[in-house]
Subunit: 365 residues, 2 copies
């Protein structure tokens, strides 16, 4: 019975990952369609260490171009990934993407406050846009990016990798199934100790601190575990050492209320030992993901002690393949630009509450 | 090295539990002093199932009297514990305790809002008062009880069992040692699904809901893990089903700020699967107690995976023996009436914040 239920849960979770099948099925499917060409826009650590290696593991995507202002980086990438000279762009020459049929999607991996500029440039060049989270640093800028991509009749997706991760899918299923009883409280946290340099600490580029960078994971979790939108938030921020935190908060905590009565308490921090967890407490049971937001090794357990175990997946490959699938099949993405906007609207309200010292009500469009 | 450090930690923790020693030492010490006579005031489930059995395991205490308005209960207790007829009182005849030299301490286990009445009556009869938590339901009533006991030149203690529990002692030591780096965030929660009847759901007797009953554990933990007093709190409460929650909140969440910059998020709930944990996150490490507030089976683990394991102790025996020791040795109690007042002042501020929807600053006396 336990084994059967676990199998069903796994099947349900895996069904959401269309790229996973038998080896034969995958090979047949892959042979019947061309892979979408991806241009990586921004060649920082995330692109270099995580996204590019993951891209090589996708079923539906191939790396065909890079966008960088660093000729040195471009040269390294060209050699490493076999990218031709015509596949190298700077941020100022992105209009030239319009003439490159090998690029279908531009994956924007630049700092938060540059997403509008780079995503819009990609859309104007006729490319679909896949964008790192947060979508942008304000509601207005998110709306402008959404409009720019829509005007180009292209697709916009946000890189919410946990939306494709089996433990998170099972946690959301469980929380919303009623098996835990009415969901009462969600407690989620993501923190680490940030390096003393880099754009994440610069307000102009990051738009904010750990709330935008890490809190968005906790916020997303509360939204997909409840299946609801928060209608009330109350936030507080803390200051950190002057050496690192002259521009952004060191930590943030927030509470939220959801329409059905569920409440959440979440936190994000740049002055924290590496810590990430989600706990969802219902009236008759609870579940914990801990660690919750890592690239691998996520563990889930119910309050009765039963773990929910799934093999690690490549979360970045999964999100890229899903976006490619949506484009190829013409189906909606669960991580659309509008979904990215929903989070930013709430994150901005949390900052507003922290500044004013009063709770903020949120009206959803 | 690990074993040695664990031994040191255990020794430090156990040293705080003066009643624990070798069997020989205990026997010698016990023989050299008379046990203090305890009267249990209020014979509900807690007294019957937990406190009385624990009292039998103490080194310094003996059960010599009961205070109840139920003749039937009194008869059962007399028989079970060999209590003489002169050791049976009603709430109205507590003045008679003055004539009973077999009673040194009255342990008040009645509903929260009766602590002032019963504790004051005990003090007027010349008895020391050990009181279940919360000390009372308002700052003023706490102060009145403290004054009443002080006027009688007797001792007042509050039954904070976790203050004597080795995992909590080690967690506090670790959090305050700097080993985790500066302490950034504490996350603590205590909830269960309350029975649909009983005084805990009646505002007149309980003074409030899960905040006073369960939240006090989480609040205490934030205070002894930081060694500081919160200076700012922000709370929210939720309503529950009308059948149970016409008078008190169903759940409460609160945030607090401490002077050194540590922030906390805590929760307490009567509509929750049984859940209790404490997580303290420093800049370079963290610790978790989970379960944290049970009578037994508490488990502690550091973020590096090292558990801190101690044998279960009888927490009620420990707190009673410590209070008896303080009386016998004339030393201060760490769970004084003033300590009880500190918590109530903060709990009341959390309710105030939840009502007003605005944070409340706390000034400590």
């Amino acid at each position: 019975m336990t084994a059967r239920r676990r199998f069903i849960a796994q099947s349900a979770a895996l069904a959401a990952l269309p790229f996973i099948g038998t080896r034969t099925t995958r090979a047949l499917a892959a042979a019947s369609r061309p892979k979408l060409g991806f241009a990586l826009c921004g060649l920082g650590d995330l692109s270099e260490n995580i996204i590019a290696p993951s891209l090589l593991k996708t079923q539906r995507c191939r790396l065909t171009a890079v966008i960088t202002d660093s000729p040195a980086k471009a040269a390294v990438w060209q050699k490493k990934y076999g990218i031709p000279a015509r596949g190298v762009y700077t941020y100022d020459t992105m209009a030239g993407l319009a003439d490159n049929p090998d690029v279908d999607v531009v994956y924007v991996v630049t700092p938060n406050a540059l997403h509008l500029q780079h995503g819009s440039a990609a859309a104007r060049a006729g490319k679909h846009v896949f964008c790192e989270k947060p979508l942008e640093i304000s509601v207005e800028r998110c709306q402008q990016l959404i409009s720019a991509v829509k005007a180009a009749n292209r697709r916009l997706g946000v890189a919410y990798r946990c939306r494709f991760e089996p433990h998170h899918l099972e946690a959301a299923r469980l929380a919303r199934s009623g098996e835990l009883g009415p969901l009462r409280t969600i407690d989620a946290y993501f923190g680490f100790n940030v390096q003393p340099s880099g754009w994440r600490l610069q307000r102009g580029l990051a738009g904010g601190g750990p709330l935008l960078d890490l809190g968005i994971y906790a916020l997303q979790a509360t939204r997909y575990l409840t299946g609801e939108e928060p209608v009330w938030v109350s936030g507080l921020t803390t200051k950190g050492d002057a050496a690192r935190f002259s521009e952004v908060e060191a930590s943030v905590l927030w509470q939220a209320r959801f329409p059905s009565g569920t409440v959440s308490q979440c936190g994000a921090s740049y002055v924290s030992a590496p810590t990430d967890y989600v706990r969802a407490i219902g009236e008759s049971g609870s579940l914990t993901l801990d660690p919750a937001f890592n690239y691998s090794g996520i563990r889930g357990v119910r309050s009765d002690g039963r773990p929910f175990d799934f093999p690690d997946i490549d979360q970045f490959a999964a999100e890229m393949d899903d976006f490619a699938r949506c484009i190829q099949e013409g189906t909606p993405s669960i991580v659309s630009g509008e979904e990215g906007l929903r989070d930013v609207r709430i994150l901005v309200a949390i900052y507003q509450s922290a500044r004013s010292g009063a709770p903020v009500k949120i009206t959803h469009a």
